[in-house]
């Protein structure tokens, strides 16, 4: 399609759109004619012959497939925290509440996969997002900035789209590295930021999808991936003005540009995936907190909170420690030998954290359903587990019926054949299949079982 190149004012009046101006025409036309100084120079300074609809569409289609996965796994992580017990943060989300359901305990690796995918994909997509933004950056400096109300509104949604993805990436990356320099609540910001981004993302996909299809069809992928640098030519001028007006010679082929972004993604994947793996490969997460084991031996696996940080003192966990079980007006007190004298069950279960790391260990202890029966609540509706910790967002956690009754749900006393280390929750901790790590309460002091009849 013939497209007239920018006129003297640097404004790209596209011949295809009649004149493309909405009402009031005089205003938009006037705006186009009053370009600030420098617009021409900026327009001519875009040199890369690679920018164009095809390359943008390639990066865009990767994001189109992968970002929904990040969004869905993120929402599932929220659901895993148990919003029905007001323990998913932020708690008060109004219309943006998710449908209530009991988070399943099977498969036991469910949460390991959802949070692992969310964090790992989120990191791996960073170069794709940067590549996509690079490919459309000239649009930011277009003059006129809009030719109609439609373009003004769409540009506003693009601000939400770009701000949204960058905000989510920045807060997510800082959170998994325990850096809270932003000074606001991570959960609140990341949850609401996700909704702003998702809305803008859906609209962008709907508006641009036909463009994406046309662009991908314009140059067969196979041919493009066989074209060397020497044969790389700019795309023909496009209605969106992505193709440079005065492109320079190619220093990289399109294949190279795709490979560069793919290589960046691969590099990040290689130094990130280790935090979700056990064994020697864990060490490959070179730049992340959970690439390092905190020690050797049966208790040498990562923690999310040290005993020192939790403020649990040794005299609280010595022989004087007692576990209190409450249920239906009854109170039962048990010491550690008493718990060890009960039927012991061993289960291989992963412990996974929303910050993207997980590890599978062998836990031994008393089944939670046996403790519920001991407390006189054979048919529990919920159980509130409290820790010896005095403060902290996760000093108590509520478990749903399926999480109490699963045969592998334990009050663990031992791990990998030895007593739990203080950092892993000695004298006793909860471990439930597919439950977020922060709800697997450590240094347990009390479990309050509620029966179905208690409401």
């Amino acid at each position: 399609m013939p497209v007239s190149r920018p006129g003297p004012s640097g404004s790209g009046t596209r011949a295809t759109d009649a004149d493309g101006y909405g009402a009031p025409r005089r205003f938009w036309r006037g705006l186009a004619q009053h370009a600030p100084p420098g617009v021409d120079a900026v327009e001519r300074s875009w040199r890369s012959p690679l920018r164009g609809p095809w390359l943008t569409a390639v990066y865009g289609s990767v994001l189109l497939v992968a970002l929904p996965l990040v969004i869905i796994t993120g929402l599932l992580d929220y659901a895993a925290y148990g919003p029905q017990f007001d323990q998913a943060f932020p708690t008060n989300v109004g219309w943006l509440r998710l449908p209530a359901f009991d988070w399943p305990t099977r498969p036991s690796w469910l949460f390991r996969v959802t949070q692992g995918l969310h964090v790992t994909l989120g990191i791996v997509l960073v170069p794709v997002v940067l590549g996509k933004l690079w490919s459309v950056l000239p649009k930011l400096f277009d003059w006129p900035p809009a030719r109609s109300l439609a373009q003004v509104l769409e540009r506003l949604t693009l601000l939400l789209l770009v701000g949204g993805i960058l905000f989510q990436i920045a807060t997510g990356l800082l959170n998994i590295q325990y850096s809270y320099v932003f000074g606001f609540d991570f959960y609140t910001a990341h949850y609401f930021g996700a909704w702003i981004f998702t809305g803008a993302f859906v609209a962008h996909v709907i508006i641009k999808f036909p463009r994406l299809v046309t662009a991908l069809r314009s140059r067969p992928l196979g041919t493009e991936l066989r074209t060397p640098r020497a044969a790389t030519r700019p795309e023909p001028p496009d209605p969106d003005g992505l193709v440079a007006a005065e492109p320079g010679p190619a220093t990289v082929s399109r294949r190279g540009a795709v490979g560069l972004v793919g290589g960046g993604a691969l590099l990040l994947a290689v130094v990130t995936i280790g935090q979700s793996l056990d064994g020697p490969l864990r060490r490959t997460a070179l730049l992340l907190p959970r690439g390092r084991q905190p020690g050797t031996g049966p208790n040498g696996f990562p923690v999310n909170r040290t005993v020192a940080a939790a403020g649990v003192r040794p005299e609280q966990t010595d022989a004087s420690w007692r576990l209190t079980l409450r249920g239906g007006g009854r109170t039962v007190t048990l010491d550690r030998p008493g718990l060890l004298a009960m039927a012991q069950h061993t289960a291989d279960l992963p412990i996974s954290c929303v910050e993207g790391w997980s590890t599978r260990q062998t836990w031994t202890g008393v089944r939670l359903r046996d403790l519920a029966a001991l407390a006189g609540v054979a048919d529990p509706a919920s159980a509130r587990v409290s820790s010896l910790e005095k403060a902290g967002l996760f000093r108590t956690a509520v478990l749903a019926p399926n999480q109490i009754l699963d045969p592998d749900s334990l009050l663990a006393l031992r791990v990998n054949g030895v007593d739990l280390a203080p950092d892993h929750g000695y004298p006793a901790r909860v471990i439930v299949p597919a439950l977020p790590g922060v709800h697997c309460t450590k240094w347990v002091a009390e479990i309050d079982f509620r029966g179905q009849a208690d409401g």
Binding site: G20, Y21, G22, A23, W95, L96, I123, V126, L130, L133, L137, S148, L149, A150, Q151, L153, E154, L156, T157, L159, L160, V162, G163, G164, L166, F167, A170, L173, L174, Q177, Y178, S179, Y180, V181, F182, G183, F184, D185, T188, F192, W195, I196, V202, I206, R229, T251, L260, G263, L268, V271, L287, R290, R292, P294, P302, V303, N304, R305, T306, A309
Partner: protein, 172 residues
């Protein structure tokens, strides 16, 4: 997208006329208006909700700041760095790319893992993991050096093979 009024559009002129007028005045099809309005309303509703938070100003600053930091700081910085590099190596494109690739890898690792590399959050990191953030800087430097070394070695190999190739061609 709304169809253009063709010769056959005459029969239902009133509808086409109204839709056409709306399209011309607004600048896109009506569904476009519905869609972008929905997105803006959603974002506005979230903003109003968050406005009650004491830290709302900071959130807004980070949201808008992220766009400015990328579009008006990060992009100009890497684009200028690339121009400088191109001016230095002139028309040796292979050398240029053998410098670009490890430089981009180094920068990417820094952007993603800077909180650990710069030790932002020593206390929270230690409370969570029981470990310090000290090793990350050295590891990033070693990884970066490895990327440059690998790229340099491949460049050397390519150059050597290229020379041998042209020498054998010359002999023939």
């Amino acid at each position: 997208m709304a169809e253009r009024a063709g010769p056959t559009a005459g029969r239902d002129r009133p509808t086409a006329g109204r839709a056409g007028r709306l399209r011309a005045a607004y600048g896109a099809a009506p569904w476009h208006l519905v869609l972008v309005t929905a997105v803006i309303v959603l974002a506005g509703w979230v903003a109003l909700r968050l406005a009650q938070e004491a830290t709302f100003g900071r959130m807004l600053l980070w949201f808008v700041g992220a766009v400015i930091a990328h579009d008006l700081v990060l992009f100009p910085v890497y684009a200028s760095a690339d121009r400088v590099l191109r001016a230095v190596v002139r028309d040796r494109v292979t050398l240029l790319n053998h410098l670009r690739v490890p430089a981009l890898g180094t920068a990417l690792l820094f952007v993603v893992y800077s909180p650990g590399i710069l030790r932002w959050g020593e206390t929270t990191h230690e409370a969570a993991t029981g470990q310090t953030q000290r090793p990350y800087l050295v590891r990033w430097l070693v990884l970066s050096a490895a990327l440059f070394l690998l790229s340099g070695a491949t460049y050397g190999l390519r150059a050597a093979l290229g020379r041998r190739g042209s020498a054998s061609r010359a002999r023939r």
